[in-house]
Amino acid sequence: LWSRFVGKTLDREQLEPVMEQFRENLMSKNVAQPIAEQLCDSVCADLEGTSCGTFTSVRAKVSGAIESSLTRILTPKRPVDVVQGVLAAKKQQRPYTICFVGVNGVGKSTTLSKVAAYLMSLKFKVGIAACDTFRSGAIEQLRTHAKRLKIPLYAEGYDKDAAFVAAEAIRRAKAEGLDVVLIDTAGRMQDNLPLMRALAKLIQVNRPDLCLFVGEALVGNDAVDQLSKFNAQLTTLQSTGIDGIILTKFDVIDDKVGAAISMTYTTGKPIVFVGTGQTYKDLKRLNVSTIVKSLLK
């Protein structure tokens, strides 16, 4: 009877079945399998040999440890502050440049337009560079947004070298006194080397102030591969690779918010914005505690 009231020391055997439940739950919330595995393994290792208070269950203890681990992963070490960036560039009398990259159809162009609307609401002068010179309708898509938002769009047409289109757009933006240039790029698969090289060239030639990876919250295990390959391909002597992440289609996934973990865990880069719909106002900040709550539910 006494043993019930004495604090116990946790061993692997007690922890494992509980860990298994949490691991499975994380995967059902769309955390990539290897990441759910690693995360639970390290929490388990941390807890092994620690004492569990008299009235706390193993479950509660594990839950607490996973909660702080998830919070740590989602809390950026170096947050990205777009507004500060724009103001700093303004002081140097040059436009601040943001490049949007990612795989096909995730929402790069739509998100770019939302960011344009957001920066305009802060009274910055924004321009768009149409550097997706490949996908049918890509330029008309941006032209529609530029017209609606009443901002300048620089386009040279299809089949042009995206790196040079961006360079010319930035040159003109400077001459015209714009504060921000948003660079749209064509979607591409992370394994497509020629296309990845072309993107690396665009980054090298133009050295944007900010390179944002746009990924959709719908993505499963591929999130890990997408981010690590984009980051690796874009990291060169001249460039630090991906600076931050935009997580789109957050309105499409209910509580399956695990991609947020997969993406931040893989790169350690912050989620700068979250896309929550198809209109300009659907651009939000990441709410870490809400995500952690969903993941533990």
């Binding site: 499975e24 995967m27 059902s28 919330k29 769309n30 990539a32 399998q33 290897p34 795989v103 096909n104 159809g105 995730v106 929402g107 739509t110 337009s113 490949f134 996908r135 049918s136 309708g137 890509a138 330029i139 008309e140 898509q141 941006l142 032209r143 529609t144 947004h145 698969m189 992370q190 394994d191 497509n192 959709e216 919250a217 719908l218 993505v219 499963g220 295990n221 591929d222 999130a223 591969d225 997408q226 390959k229 289609k249 309105d251 499409v252 996934i253 209910d254 399956k256 695990g258 991609a259 198809q278």
Partner: protein
């Protein structure tokens, strides 16, 4: 794609089992775990994986009388039966009728690849000699009509759409009417991306269905999708009469397991897969022959026979 890779992972797990002398609880547990992990890493729905694991365990009665060799056979055939059950919808594919209008509506989540795929689909039938046309019923997305128009023009396929009409139902109806009158055989309707959380978008899809009465509705699904695949696919199937699936972007790194779960949810066969951004990056998909090819691999030869018994 997912099955090819899973096939090899599973057969190596099965081989590993063959090498162990005694088949006990632990050997079976390890096997079931390996299969589960492989499926999960490929994004197959977690609940489907659990079900499959339980089914395998239940079917393989280790306490039974059967000798080792028969236990192995039993495990092999159970694993593959379950895999097939995952893929095979049991529903027959829609057959295009020559000399008649076949109206095919494409639906799916935002950015799945519908607009790209409708042209590939049209081009496929055009090459085979069908009189084919495209209709843009996406009046929402910026540049949607230009995208379809540019693709259709390149492929020399007649198209219908409007820059001014903002009701997709009206555009779809007019387009279908015109192409019916002009005796087109394959009339393909591209629609906006949508998701189950936005009821108005689903209602619009139902209205489209009522208005144009498609002969088949194709659900387009991105191969990189994770655990949200199944609930979304289920909602599409419940809202409209989905009859076929196309999985896109299989030229990427994704394994397509989420898409497979979606296929399971729609209870419809995969008819094509998309393997790139270009018009001919498109392959016919026959799940029956795919599965039998999978079954024909290496030491698994003859398994088909076992299954048929």
């Amino acid at each position: 794609m997912v099955l090819a890779e899973l096939g090899s992972k599973i057969s190596s797990a099965l081989n590993a089992m063959t090498n162990s002398v005694v088949i006990d609880e632990k050997v079976l547990d390890d096997l079931v775990k390996t299969i589960g992990n492989a499926l999960m890493m490929a994004d197959v729905d977690v609940r489907l994986v659990k079900k499959l694991q339980n089914n395998i365990k239940a079917a393989v009665n280790l306490d039974g009388e059967a000798a080792g060799i028969n236990k192995r056979k039993l495990i092999h055939s159970t694993v593959f039966k379950e895999m097939i059950a995952l893929l095979d919808s049991g529903k027959a594919q829609y057959k295009m009728k020559k000399g008649k209008p076949n109206v095919i509506m494409f639906v799916g989540l935002q950015g799945a690849g519908k607009t790209t795929t409708v042209t590939k689909f049209a081009y496929h039938y055009k090459k085979k000699g069908w009189k084919t046309a495209l209709i843009c019923a996406d009046t929402f997305r910026a540049g949607a009509f230009d995208q379809l128009k540019q693709n259709a023009t390149k492929a020399k396929i007649p198209f219908y759409g409007s820059y001014t009409e903002n009701d997709p139902v009206v555009t779809a109806e007019q387009g279908v009417k015109q192409f019916r009158e002009e005796k087109f055989e394959v009339i393909i309707v591209d629609t906006s991306g949508r998701h189950k959380q936005e009821a108005a978008l689903f209602e619009e899809m139902r209205e489209l269905e009522r208005a144009i009465q498609p002969d088949d509705t194709v659900f387009v699904m991105d191969s990189s999708i994770g655990q949200a695949a199944k609930p979304q696919a289920t909602a599409f199937r419940e809202a409209v009469n989905v009859g076929s699936c196309i999985i896109t972007k299989l030229d990427g790194h994704a394994k397509g397991g989420g898409a497979l779960s979606a296929v399971a949810a729609t209870q419809s066969p995969i008819i094509f897969i998309g393997t790139g951004e270009h018009i001919d990056d498109f392959e016919e998909f026959n799940s029956q022959s795919f599965v039998s090819r999978l079954l024909g691999m290496g030491d698994l030869q003859g398994l088909q026979k076992i299954l048929e018994k």
